[in-house]
């Protein structure tokens, strides 16, 4: 006769949490930085097709780390949620807060009821009319939500990267400053620390970068290609002159209406 195998709830939850945390820490990090002109999302991602950063709706974007199939599933659900809501009510009724709540409930339910938790961490951000009204929500594998201000780092080496951001971030950064800070922070990961030679350099074509641009009407999300990015990341002195020009929509971005 076999004795039923007992695991205490504390142990069960702890095991699940450890499992999810390990999975998340294996991947590369994503950094979200608020700045004067909007919210920037920066990730080290060599793939042009498998995005970690995505548009959800007019003023709402999504960033994730962890297992691709799991966060892709949540991303698709988020786009569906936003589009159904925007279509049946109004475009202005789609908010990051509503979506963050739905994600939190979903992740929480999966964490407690399924045998395998989602190994993901998400940011849902909404760009406001002014920097004070920007909203950044960070969601973890167990469904907990944190309302973040200014910056978030998640994924591998998140602690080191967050420390760097905490040290250097301040309100009112320009887009160029925010991107430079984000790239430098991404380069200050555990590997760079172990090597001891300061932040690693990351080439623009190894980065996936997108912004929610406060100045744009309707769909504010746009991706920044390697070319634009290289210009924006150029030396601080050189960046001040073309700054106005870079705000102009490129050929792939819609003109203001």
């Amino acid at each position: 006769m076999s004795v039923p195998f007992y695991v205490s709830p504390e142990q069960l939850m702890k095991d699940k949490a450890d499992y999810a945390r390990k999975g998340i820490a294996r991947g590369r990090a994503v950094v979200v930085v608020a700045h004067a002109g909007g919210i920037a999302f920066v990730s080290e991602n060599a793939s042009r097709a498998l995005h970690k950063i995505s548009e959800i709706y007019d003023r709402v974007a999504f960033a994730a780390v962890g297992k691709y199939n799991e966060f892709e599933n949540l991303r698709v659900a988020g786009v569906r949620y936003a589009d159904v809501r925007g279509y049946s009510y109004d475009r202005s009724d789609v908010t990051a807060r509503g979506l963050a709540n739905a994600y939190a409930q979903t992740l929480g339910a999966i964490f407690t009821t399924e045998s395998k938790p989602y190994e993901v961490e998400l940011v849902v951000a909404e760009v406001g009319r002014s920097p004070e009204t920007d909203q950044i929500y960070r969601l973890t594998y167990d469904g907990s939500v944190a309302d973040e201000h200014g910056y978030v780092a998640m994924g591998g080496s998140a602690e080191q990267i967050t420390a760097k951001l905490a040290d250097r971030w301040h309100p009112g950064l320009s887009l160029e400053q925010a991107l430079r800070l984000a790239v430098e922070a991404l380069g200050s990961d555990a590997a760079a620390e172990a090597a001891g030679g300061g932040p690693r350099a990351i080439a623009p074509d190894q980065l996936e970068v997108a912004v929610l641009d406060r100045a744009r009407e309707r769909r504010t999300f746009r991706r920044l290609g390697a070319g634009t990015l290289a210009q924006l990341l150029a030396a601080p002195g050189a960046a001040s002159a073309p700054a106005a020009g870079e705000q102009q929509p490129g050929p792939d971005t819609p003109p203001e209406r």
């Binding site: 097709a49 995005h51 995505s54 548009e55 959800i56 599933n73 949540l74 698709v76 659900a77 988020g78 786009v79 569906r80 949620y81 589009d83 159904v84 809501r85 925007g86 279509y87 049946s88 709540n101 739905a102 994600y103 409930q105 979903t106 929480g108 339910a109 769909r219 050929p251 971005t253 819609p254 003109p255 209406r257």
Partner: protein, 303 residues
């Protein structure tokens, strides 16, 4: 109505949202909450015949009228008048009938205004939804076919007198040129070269376009020709409104090029409309020479 957003009392995303499936918004909503889709609605059998009585036009849904679209050197121009009619009454003087549908396309509507506006709204979401889920733009053919399917979904209504006939135009990034697609009420589509018109005033507008259109015109000349054609439609069709000089209501004019969609601003249109009116004073048929060589310069002089 509440079923589609509050289906799960726990507040978590409904299971349907997390299920892998199509990138089409319409397909998704048809499974998840079909009451949101216009095509799943059915009129009660006698609704069309049993219109309520009242003053002139009472009980008749507002009708939208003339749209013109023209291909030009850099893309395509679409323009629509601003009048909606309910029977003999003017239902609205400033209705918008030309809409941006995505970055490189636009649609103009003729027919039952309420249904048409709803169809365009669904079409806009359809294109945006695909773009977000796939991370890629839908092809021009793909967009034209999606719209076709939506018109076909309205066939039941159309046969009861509530037809919607859009005109679709845009810049085909693959082909590198402006394109126009016309439809009939069954969703049948036909690609139109050079120019096309729909709506009650389309006959007159088409006549004007035949005489005024020249291949390879620049944007300014094309906008002028579109406005001339709308004027001719308004001149002979009571359901098409001309530019309203008293209220300063100008036609909605959209230009789509490789750079994207642009709605021509009122301040930009005002001098063009005034030049047009000046040119027709004492000469109501207009001057057939306006698109001759240097039409753009002539117009800017007039402006």
């Amino acid at each position: 109505m509440s079923s589609h957003l509050h289906g799960d009392p726990s507040g978590r995303l409904p299971a349907a949202f997390l299920r892998p499936g199509s990138s089409s918004f319409t397909d998704f909503v048809r499974e998840y909450s079909p009451d949101l889709l216009p095509s799943s609605r059915r009129l009660p059998g006698s609704a069309a015949s049993g219109m309520p009585t009242g003053g002139p036009g009472a009980g008749q849904p507002p009708h939208a009228t003339t749209i013109v679209a023209l291909v030009f050197a850099d893309g395509v121009v679409m323009a629509g008048d601003r009048r909606a009619t309910a029977g003999p009454m003017i239902a609205q003087r400033d209705i918008q009938k030309v809409f941006q549908t995505d970055e490189h396309s636009c649609a103009g509507i003729a027919g039952t205004a309420g249904l048409a506006v709803e169809m365009v709204r669904l079409f806009q979401v359809e294109l945006e939804h695909f773009e977000k889920l796939e991370g890629a733009l839908m092809s021009f053919e793909g967009k034209a076919n999606r719209l076709s399917a939506m018109i076909r979904g309205n066939l039941g209504m159309a046969l009861q007198g509530l037809a919607v006939v859009p005109l679709f135009a845009g810049y085909d990034l693959d082909a590198g040129r402006g394109r126009i697609v016309g439809y009939d009420i069954t969703g049948g589509r036909s690609e139109e070269h050079e120019h096309h018109t729909v709506g009650s005033g389309s006959l007159f507008a088409r006549g004007a376009l035949k005489k005024l259109y020249r291949p390879g015109m620049d944007e300014a000349a094309t906008v002028r020709v579109a406005l001339e054609a709308l004027w001719d439609a308004a001149d002979d069709d009571s359901a098409t409104g001309g530019p309203d000089l008293l209220r300063k209501i100008w036609p909605v004019v959209a230009v789509v090029t490789a750079d994207g969609f642009r709605r021509v601003g009122d301040e930009e249109l005002e001098p063009v409309v005034e030049a047009l009116v000046a040119g027709r004073r004492g000469n109501p048929g207009g001057n057939p020479g306006i698109t001759g060589a240097g039409a753009g310069t002539q117009q800017s002089q007039e402006a």
